[in-house]
């Protein structure tokens, strides 16, 4: 046990700015809040750190609420008239309308360099996430100004997710400018660090503090809020003489769009939507993807959130009354019946009623399980949600930091979603050795980040001695010949480096041999645990012949925002220069996969042009591409929506779109719908065997073997060499009871699906089917190991050019 002194900051303070108030703002994905530190209390004899949360007045339908939490929601109720906070959040339940726009969780979109995709184009006041952030900041600044005066806005620190990239940080600064209070240079603070600052300087005082800070201590901070899950690994030590805290970031997780919102969507999607459909006798596919996304989910989410909160509060209280009890209680939360409004044809509205929506603890545990899985750390999203285990960002941060879970001395859980009892239990189970650091007050989970920001503001702006300085987390350097690593900036170096902000020059690298062509400058990072990893390669092209041994001058700097600028130049007569700028090289992440990015940009482009008449064929091509990408991402309902749009645009039967919709229905298990589409397809293009083949698949799944056989016979008649068709035919023959005939057909199919040639994913699937049917286990296992689950494909995409198949396998695209 080791009690911290009351103030773990510097003891002798001479420099003050004279300002009294220091302001910290937590600009959250779901809720925002403001804390104010009164420095007069600190300068009094007892050196108190007095921080208070600022209540923010918010209009609602039932008058006025003053709350320290300000929902990060902005609504444009009528063109030009907007509201933020609680009242805007209330409006969320009303659903979208052409003239009513509600923006929430837009923080996830900050800095993406693209406009957010909204169902209805927003007015220019709200067409960017940073402009929405500005409206939220405007309200927060207003509350501070009203209570403490303009002066309190002179020293503001705003928090951002540790994993925010530079573009997102810049967007945050832009938002502050737009809201009328530009921020200073080091005024952005990482959220987990802010929470830890608050913890260490307020809660962690006194006897019960479990960590010994005289030695270096490793703490894992998990900030699991409404929209992001941000993890930071910190090393903490208190200098014995000065009592000054040294905090260093060992690692931060990659950006993870995972939060309480995702749990709400999961409840809405897995529990409420099926119940809504069941109660109203509506088939899942009767509502389009867009109906669900733009109308049904926005109305279901408030219900889902209320049910989640009720279950969590009841379960927490049960746990408090029954410590150590293994059996789970029966808890059921219910909510009021709701009318869900969905647009129908010609401006009519269809009302679906959701009677007595409820959620049991058991259902909730089930919904939560993928979020808590310690093994399956990849995202397994649905069409409406992305679901990732909370341990994915935790492992990611630990991998970067190097320590194993047993090296973690303490874990601090913050953020609203960290109050979910299941999350707390799961973290405890995964890190049994680590001390659970917790705030003595539940509400602190909501306010810790803003409070930490106010503390940082005070130490930084008021005392000129920031408690936490950004540091380089890994050693950055260059990979020379034979992979020799040459360090430029060592791990732990305080940023900016060099402190002047100018460039540092590094000598001692030379051209390895005479060369005329490009020379690769390989920038790499090195960690003791993971060796070197290449961050980027710059190409230095000499203007003239570069002689072996000619010096290469390297100039570089890493600024406080962790942007690395590096220039390389050849000084000799060879002459040549190159420069590279890397954003936050040490948490380099991808937001989305390549495919997801292409989907987003196509959707964006189409949203802008879809209503215009020109370039119809280009639009159709784009939609084809988009729906195919969505199909590959298993976003079948959304693919159907877009393919339908292509049909609408072309106003004539488009076999590509019809086939894609059929395939999507097939994947969704709606075989009767798939059949209808494939019949249509065989009418449009009777000469393509694939249509008959796909039709046969949909009939087979409905148990109509005879009809399926007829259809597949037509397919094999059209393409005699197509092994996949024959394989299906063989399977149907077997189902109809003619085992011997089936074996002959399977053998023939095996011959056609020749293993000496590379097989695409479609043929691979059918070749495995054939091998299994012929009891050729060895081949089946070999082929299965080649196949990745993601690429499996049963139905055939429309591609008449490749058929009839002769010698070569069908080219998929």
């Amino acid at each position: 046990m080791n009690a911290l002194p009351i103030v773990a900051g510097p003891r002798t303070i001479s420099k003050t700015t004279g300002a009294r108030w220091f302001c910290g703002i937590d600009l959250g994905t779901t809720n925002s809040s403001v804390a104010i530190l009164d420095s007069w209390a600190f300068h009094s004899d007892d050196r108190r750190l007095e921080i208070s949360m600022v209540p923010i007045r918010q209009s609602t339908r039932t008058g006025v609420t003053e709350s320290i939490l300000f929902p990060s929601v902005v609504a444009e109720l009528f063109p030009g008239e907007w509201i933020a906070g609680e009242g805007a959040k209330e409006a969320r339940g009303l659903g979208s309308r052409k003239d009513r726009r509600i923006f929430y969780s837009t923080k996830s979109e900050m800095g993406l360099g693209r406009e957010p995709y909204y169902p209805f184009a927003a007015s220019n006041k709200f067409d960017s996430p940073y402009k929405i952030a500005a409206k939220i900041l405007e309200s927060l600044f207003g509350a501070v100004r009203e209570k403490f005066g303009e002066d309190a806005l002179r020293n503001v620190v705003v928090t951002v997710p540790a994993s925010f990239q530079v573009a997102a940080r810049k967007d945050t600064l832009r938002a502050a400018v737009l809201a009328g209070t530009p921020l200073g240079d080091q005024s952005l603070l990482d959220e987990p660090n802010a929470a830890f600052l608050d913890y260490i300087l307020s809660t962690a005082q006194g006897e019960s503090f479990p960590l010994d800070l005289t030695a270096p201590t490793v703490v894992l901070v998990v900030d699991f809020g409404g929209g992001t899950c941000d993890v930071s690994v910190l090393r903490v030590q208190m200098e014995a003489q000065t009592g000054r805290l040294r905090l260093a970031n060992l690692a931060i997780s990659r950006y993870e769009r995972l939060g309480g919102d995702n749990i709400d969507i999961a409840i809405a999607e897995q529990i409420l939507l099926p119940e809504l459909l069941r109660q109203n006798g509506v088939a899942a596919l009767d509502l389009s993807w867009a109906d669900k996304k733009n109308y049904v989910f926005p109305q279901l989410l408030p219900v889902a959130e209320a049910l989640k909160l009720a279950i969590c509060s009841e379960y927490s209280s049960w746990l408090a009354f029954h410590p150590g009890q293994q059996a789970e209680p029966n808890i059921c939360a219910t909510q009021l019946s709701e009318s869900i409004r969905v647009p129908a044809a010609r401006d009519h509205v269809r009302t679906l009623s959701l009677r007595n929506p409820s959620l049991t603890l058991e259902q909730f545990q089930h919904v939560m399980s993928p979020f808590l899985d310690g093994d399956l750390l990849y995202a397994h999203g649905t069409e409406f949600n992305s679901i990732t285990s909370v341990f994915a960002p935790i492992r990611d941060a630990l991998d970067r930091a190097g320590p194993s879970p047993t090296d973690i001395d303490g874990i601090l859980l913050v953020g609203g979603s960290s109050l979910i009892p299941q999350i707390q239990k799961a973290v405890q189970t995964q890190f049994p050795e680590a001390h659970r650091l917790s705030f003595d007050d539940r509400d602190r989970s909501f306010s810790a980040i803003a409070r930490g920001a106010a503390l940082h503001s005070f130490f930084l702006h008021g005392l000129g001695v920031p408690l936490l300085k950004p540091i380089a987390q890994e050693t950055i350097g260059l990979l020379a010949q034979d992979n020799v690593f040459r360090a430029l900036i060592r791990a732990g170096t305080e940023l900016p480096f060099p402190p002047s902000g100018q460039f540092e020059t590094h000598h001692g690298l030379s051209v390895p041999r005479d060369l005329m062509t490009e020379l690769d400058i390989v920038i790499a990072a090195e960690t003791p645990s993971r060796g070197t990893k290449v961050l980027a390669v710059a190409h230095l092209k000499p203007e003239n012949l570069a002689r072996a041994g000619a010096e290469i001058e390297i100039r570089f700097r890493l600024d406080a925002n962790k942007v690395l600028d590096l220039q390389a130049s050849l000084r000799s007569e060879a002459n040549g220069e190159c420069a590279v700028s890397l954003e936050n090289p040490l948490s380099a992440t991808g937001h989305d996969s390549e495919r997801e990015r292409e989907i987003l940009s196509l959707e964006q482009e189409l949203a802008d042009t879809i209503t215009r008449r020109e370039s119809l064929s280009q639009k159709v091509r784009q939609i084809q591409r988009l729906s195919e990408l969505l199909f590959d991402e298993k976003k079948y309902e959304r693919a159907i929506d877009w393919a339908r749009k292509a049909l609408q645009l072309r106003r004539d039967p488009d076999p590509y779109a019809v086939n894609l919709i059929g395939n999507a229905y097939y994947e969704l298990g709606a075989y009767d719908r798939a059949e209808k589409l494939f019949r249509e397809l065989t009418a449009i293009d009777a000469g393509w065997g694939g249509g008959h083949f796909n039709l046969a698949l949909s009939l087979e799944s409905q148990g109509r073997t005879g009809e399926a056989l007829e259809a597949v016979s037509e397919a094999t008649r059209l393409a005699v060499q197509e092994g996949a068709y024959l394989a299906l035919q063989a399977r149907l023959i077997k189902t109809s009871g003619r085992a011997e005939d089936a074996t002959i057909a399977f053998r023939e199919a095996a011959r056609l699906l020749d293993l000496s040639r590379p097989l695409n994913e479609f043929h691979l699937h059918w070749r495995i089917t054939v091998a299994r049917s012929l009891n050729d286990v060895k081949t089946a296992l070999e082929l299965e190991s080649m196949r990745t689950k993601q690429n499996e494909r049963v139905g055939l995409p429309y591609d008449p050019r490749a058929l009839p198949a002769t010698e070569s396998a069908i080219a998929l695209r």
């Binding site: 109720l77 509201i83 009242g87 509060s313 049960w318 009354f321």
Partner: protein, 410 residues
């Protein structure tokens, strides 16, 4: 169509979440009688239940030898719902007079012939008390805990002193609603406590905004006292400013009340709808239920049907609500006509009704027939501590910044 919401939402708090001061009260010794006073919202009922549990488990008092006595049947049901979380046996919680009648039966005392229930209660209590005092009866119980002790007549304390080895009384003198209520100092003397009362201060759960409204219904002399007993240790996460809705007709009033009730349920708040008398309760029930608002009527006659761990809003009289607390309290029908026959002053009733709220109070009336006492609230409205609305509120304050629009220079 009416529906019920059976969402569990226990109001009870686990022992480790009690404050130090509350914890001290739970563990007070039993070698002498104890008297705990505290204002509404200081958590008396929660502390009482934990103390009962503490006596059962730590002092090994048998459940048959322990009673939690309350004044109303509604409060009994409410407390039983909380006791559920602690696994306290239901039968330990009893209304005071049912216990008195039980004693009279057991000892074979002659039955009271009075017609009115009040008289029957008084006569039986007197005869049982006399019997215990004059016959030198030994105590029949090990421990008794009394909630809302300010409402018991003095004779009750004389009986408790004789019938139980230990008595802990929880009381709030400002809440005194019943004419028969005894002077607390007298009661303390009877139990040999004198004025050695433990005061629960600190207003842990209820909102300062609610308290500011409630004190407006106290006589000016008592207002300061009330605030001195309160202490708001930390800034609450959220303070909702109380609302006063002036509808233009009764229909409009119910429509708005229904709308607000629904909104409160969707935020998981426990709602109490409080009215001056049973007739008004029945009217409210009919009006709301026929409007499709899920509500539950809690009557003194059949209180055990009420599910106090459920989220369905409760409609009850202010008297029945004594000792209960809700997140949100709606007080409809604050008109001259409805409070004309109130057994105590309208102001006193509104004070009790408001202090049932932990979080938010919504007062409702009809324009033109407002109760005179509502006039006292003008100062609060001016100070921004009470919001006034018509029945169909103007759309919430939106901001129009077309004139301010200036894009940042990037």
């Amino acid at each position: 169509m009416q529906e019920t919401i059976r969402s569990q939402r226990a109001w009870m708090i686990a022992r480790e979440l009690l404050t130090e001061q509350q914890e001290r009260v739970v563990a007070l010794p039993i070698d002498q009688n104890q008297f705990i006073s505290g204002p509404s919202g200081s958590g008396k009922t929660v502390v009482l239940l934990h103390r009962a549990n503490h006596l059962l488990r730590n002092f090994k008092v048998s459940p048959r030898q322990l009673r939690v006595l309350v004044f109303t049947n509604v409060l009994r049901t409410y407390i039983q719902a909380g006791a559920d979380a602690l696994n306290l046996p239901f039968e330990t919680i009893q209304s005071f007079y049912s216990w008195v009648f039980q004693l009279a039966d057991r000892e074979g005392l002659p039955k009271s012939q009075a017609d009115r229930l009040e008289d029957k209660c008084r006569e039986t209590l007197e005869s049982v008390t006399r019997y215990f005092e004059e016959e030198y009866m030994p105590p029949v119980l090990e421990a008794v805990l009394v909630d809302e002790g300010q409402d018991l007549p003095l004779a009750a304390y004389r009986l408790l002193r004789k019938a139980s080895r230990h008595v802990t009384v929880f009381a709030d003198s400002i809440q005194k609603l019943y004419v028969e209520g005894s002077m607390m100092i007298e009661a303390g003397r009877t139990l040999d406590i004198g004025d050695r009362a433990v005061r629960l201060i600190g207003n842990l759960r209820s909102s300062i905004a609610v308290a500011r409204l409630a004190v407006e219904f106290l006589p000016p002399a008592e207002r300061d006292d009330y605030f001195h007993l309160q202490e708001w240790t930390s800034v609450p996460t959220r303070t909702r400013i109380p609302l006063l809705v002036r509808a233009s007709s009764e229909d409009e009033e119910w429509e708005r009340v229904g709308e607000i009730v629904k909104q409160e349920i969707s935020a998981n708040y426990r709602v109490g709808i409080l009215l001056p008398d049973n007739r008004a309760v029945n009217q409210a029930y009919t009006a709301l239920a026929s409007g499709g608002v899920p509500v539950e009527r809690v009557t003194a006659r059949a209180p055990s049907e009420a599910d106090f761990n459920g989220l369905t809003p409760k409609i009850l009289t202010v008297f029945s609500a004594k000792g209960l607390s809700f997140d949100t309290v709606l007080i409809p029908r604050i008109t001259r006509q409805h409070y004309a026959h109130a057994p105590t002053t309208a102001a006193q009733m509104l004070f009790v009704a408001c202090t049932r709220a932990l979080d938010w109070v919504c007062l409702n009336t009809v324009q033109g027939s407002e109760l005179r006492e509502l006039g006292q609230l003008e100062g609060l409205v001016l100070a921004g501590r009470l919001i006034e609305q018509g029945a169909s509120p103007k759309n919430i304050n939106v901001q129009n910044d077309d004139l301010l629009e200036q894009d940042a220079p990037f």
